[in-house]
């Protein structure tokens, strides 16, 4: 860029390798005062590594950084923070058992008096001021466990406002926010920009990048593909740059046959669900759309027996499942893949193999003592890894924690597919997953349907529902308010039903 710009943060020719693999290849970029820079790229493109170097989590192998014109070489996160870098991670780092004010000052409380006691009054005042700056009016004495996800996000941001950050990095801040909370967050981010902060915004959601950012940088395979004003991008070319191949048809199709009725849920009533019926045919992919809190997840949980069901029945191939418990559902060949893969779907510290097989071990046993056949274990895992194209260095030793989000999701899918279920309930399977991995997950879903299983796909992304579903049903306020078939998809109408409850 020209010398006219007074860049707050400059990154020059940064390279970084992990055990011989070059993750960043001479990356240069800069952020100016009072601008929002969007950073996009697939998982594994090097975004997090780059930001971890800026945030002092990792050292760079080569290259240098300048902060406000001075050379900047943070040795650890604390040092980076002291020098004005605020890194707001995707996962919030808050303590639910403490108040907002306590959370904001947990590592360095203001102290008073000869006994160096905590000055709660000062902490509360500063917390209130920071929250006020963000336009949030929550009492700083409120415990974090009482806050919504959006409010928690605000608290996390407020934490850094207190520390006079010069550069603020947001890593996927919207994944757990509702629409309204997202708008609020965007307003705040713009407010921070207008006050002169340099902001780096990382996201998979390109719409957001276009809405929010002034400039954008596309990273691919550790290289900057393009750094330019946002007006020079459009979403098709941006996706192309991210993926490196033409992704004209983002949604794969497959030749499949829709067979006879396989699964039926009749008049399900549960917490937040007021009588929803659903039928799935063999080989059919049915999408379920609705706003947050419309009762989609609650419905899925109810028919799988995770949440208490008030009335209604669940039938698989004409046979009633009774009682409705997860164990009974699994026995009938129904699988439920939850939204929250981190807490419900995966054993994070365990290996890829163990995660893939943990629902399958019963079927690997033989003989009177039900010993596990170790040889078959490896074969089965390897087969599934190949089928789903899970990228892992060594499935026998690599913990799932070290996989990228997309590959983690594939492991969750793989675990359930081991059981060859007849019906799969998927709740937001592509949440927080990059474009390339999304494509692969769509492929997997298509493959499942092609093999004759039925899929219920719950999603907040209408595009993907339109892209791969045979049918979409729309839930509004706990009731089915509309159904669309593939030939009659109309995104405006679908959204209208979801928002207003009628066309």
């Amino acid at each position: 860029m020209t010398s006219q710009r007074d860049d707050v943060l400059q990154i020059k020719d940064i390279s970084k390798s992990f055990s011989g693999v070059e993750v960043l290849k001479s990356v240069s970029l800069s952020v100016n005062k009072g601008e929002i820079l969007g950073l996009v790229g697939q998982n594994g493109a090097g975004k997090s590594t780059l930001m971890n170097i800026v945030g002092g989590v990792l050292p760079a192998d080569k290259g240098k950084m300048c902060l406000m014109g001075n050379e900047f070489k943070p040795l650890n996160p604390f040092m980076a923070e002291k020098m004005g870098i605020a890194f707001i991670h995707q996962e919030l780092n808050l303590f639910p058992n403490l108040s907002i004010a306590e959370n904001m000052f947990i590592d360095s409380f203001p102290l008073k008096g000869p006994l160096r006691t905590v000055n709660f009054k000062a902490a509360r005042k500063a917390a209130k001021a920071a929250l006020g700056f963000l336009g949030v009016s929550i009492s700083p004495d409120k415990k974090v466990q009482e806050l919504s996800m959006g409010q928690r996000q605000m608290v996390e941001i407020a934490k850094y406002i207190n520390r006079n950050a010069i550069v603020i990095i947001f890593d996927e801040p919207t994944t757990s926010l509702s629409h309204k909370e997202k708008e609020m967050l965007f307003r705040v981010i713009c407010g921070l920009r207008d006050k002169g902060a340099a902001i780096i915004y990382i996201s998979h959601i390109l719409e957001d990048i276009f809405e929010l950012c002034d400039r954008a940088v596309v990273l691919r395979d550790g290289r900057v593909i393009k750094e330019a004003s946002i007006t020079e991008f459009d979403s098709t070319t941006m996706i192309k740059m991210m993926v490196g191949r033409d992704l004209k048809q983002i949604f794969p199709t497959v030749d499949k046959k829709i067979g006879q009725l396989a699964f039926e849920a009749r008049e399900i009533k549960a917490n937040g669900v007021h009588g929803v019926s659903l039928s799935l045919h063999e080989g059919e992919i049915v999408g379920m759309f609705g706003l947050m809190g419309a009762g989609r997840t609650e419905f899925a949980k109810a028919i799988f027996g995770v949440e208490k069901i008030e009335s209604g029945g669940v039938f698989y191939k004409g046979e009633q499942i009774n009682p409705i418990t997860p164990r009974n559902c699994i026995r009938h060949g129904i699988a439920f893949i939850t939204e929250d893969r981190r807490y419900e779907g995966l054993l994070m510290p365990k290996t890829v193999e163990e995660n893939l097989l943990c629902a399958f071990w019963d079927k690997l046993t033989s003989g009177p003592w039900k010993w596990i056949n170790v040889k078959q274990e490896g074969e089965n895992a390897a087969k599934q890894i190949k089928n789903l194209q899970i990228k892992t260095a060594d499935f026998k030793t690599q913990p799932v924690r070290n996989l990228s989000g997309g590959n983690q999701q594939k492991v969750v899918l793989g675990k359930w597919l081991m059981l060859e279920p007849g019906v799969i309930l998927l709740d937001e399977p592509t949440k927080g997953v990059d474009v390339g991995a999304k494509y692969e997950i769509y492929n997997i879903i298509n493959q499942i349907a092609k093999n004759g299983s039925s899929v219920l796909l719950i999603s907040s992304e209408m595009e993907e529902l339109i892209g791969i579903c045979d049918r979409i049903i729309i839930i509004h306020d706990g009731l089915v308010k509309g159904e669309f078939h593939k030939e009659t998809y109309d995104s405006e109408a679908i959204l209208k039903v979801a928002v207003e409850g009628s066309v």
Binding site: E81, F95, P96, N97, E102, I106, F109, L115, T117, V118
Partner: protein
């Protein structure tokens, strides 16, 4: 989570306290006599002090099973000092130093070598008891006249040891609620990895918690033996479970990240003591004690679990 569990955990302890007092005072006239009240207070001292120490450890998300053995080891050393002709201050110093030593061993093994607290302190339990047994040759030790001085001195009609308990509770409450240490310990108990990321010196704080626990265990042991003026080789064996139940009764979570010293811990210790005292007055069979104790632990832990599954997420 169910509303009643929340209410129960909030006010339940006062309710239980009131019910016990009404129950025992209606069964026996002796119960509310001033002599017995002093008795109860005196019996609460050792348990209360040890419980305060335990609560720091449990708030940080850990546990210390070595409390009983450390009580034994420290009081053995104290008794031997007294028997060799040293005064009470010297004996008390040795007692506290030994408690600090045991606590620091626990702290180092847990924070440096990352051994699970239960296992690490289980090892200390055995070692501390063993050292005590070797040095005392597994014999009964007597404290002599010093025990009358400690247990018999009264200020304004109240035993001096009760003032020690009050001081410990007030100091502990100060550290938990007025110093950064307390808030940071609560944060560590809720999420120790997150605390590390937030810039808290997790190892130092956790180490300090075990240090405090060890020191208070030593002090509690010495005051307790002064009360009975003799130490038999089985003294305070398994006492940590009484301490843990008083801690949980007092509102400190077994899962960490939650707890208060005053009034919680004091109430927890008082309730356990009152139950023992009440059974004693009623001339209940001593074999009933462990059953009742077990039921208390069971109930307190059950409420704690139900509560924890409802919040924190």
């Amino acid at each position: 989570m169910a509303e009643w569990v929340k209410k129960l955990s909030q006010y339940g302890i006062y309710f239980v306290f009131a019910v016990l007092i009404i129950l025992f005072s209606s069964i026996s006239r002796v119960f509310l006599a001033s002599g017995n009240i002093i008795n109860i207070l005196q019996q609460t001292v050792a348990l209360g002090i040890a419980t305060v120490g335990m609560s720091f450890v449990m708030i940080s998300g850990g546990i210390d099973t070595s409390v009983g053995s450390v009580m034994y080891l420290a009081s053995c050393a104290g008794a031997q000092m007294l028997n060799k002709g040293f005064g009470i201050p010297a004996a008390l110093t040795v007692v506290i130093l030994l408690g600090l030593l045991a606590g620091s061993v626990n702290g180092i093994v847990i924070t440096r070598f990352k051994v699970a607290p239960f296992i690490a302190t289980l090892a200390t339990t055995s070692i501390a008891r063993g050292i005590g047994l070797v040095t005392s040759q597994a014999k009964m030790l007597f404290l002599g006249t010093a025990s009358y001085v400690i247990a018999g001195t009264r200020w304004f009609g109240i035993p001096v040891t009760v003032y020690v308990l009050i001081t410990v509770v007030l100091l502990a409450d100060f550290f938990l609620n007025r110093k950064s240490f307390g808030r940071q310990l609560l944060a560590i108990g809720a999420d120790s990895l997150g605390a590390e990321k937030a810039g808290i010196f997790v190892k130092r704080r956790v180490f300090t918690a075990y240090l405090i626990c060890g020191m208070l265990a030593g002090l509690a042991g010495f005051l307790s033996t002064a009360q009975i003026s003799a130490i038999d080789p089985k003294f305070a064996s398994g006492y940590e479970f009484t301490v843990i139940s008083a801690t949980v009764l007092g509102g400190t979570s077994l899962f960490g990240g939650k707890g208060n010293i005053f009034p919680g811990i004091l109430m927890g210790a008082l309730i356990v003591t009152i139950i023992e005292n009440g059974l004693n007055i009623m001339n209940a069979s001593p074999y009933i004690y462990p059953i009742v104790k077990g039921l208390i632990i069971f109930f307190a832990v059950m409420v704690d679990s139900m509560k924890s599954s409802g919040e924190m997420r």
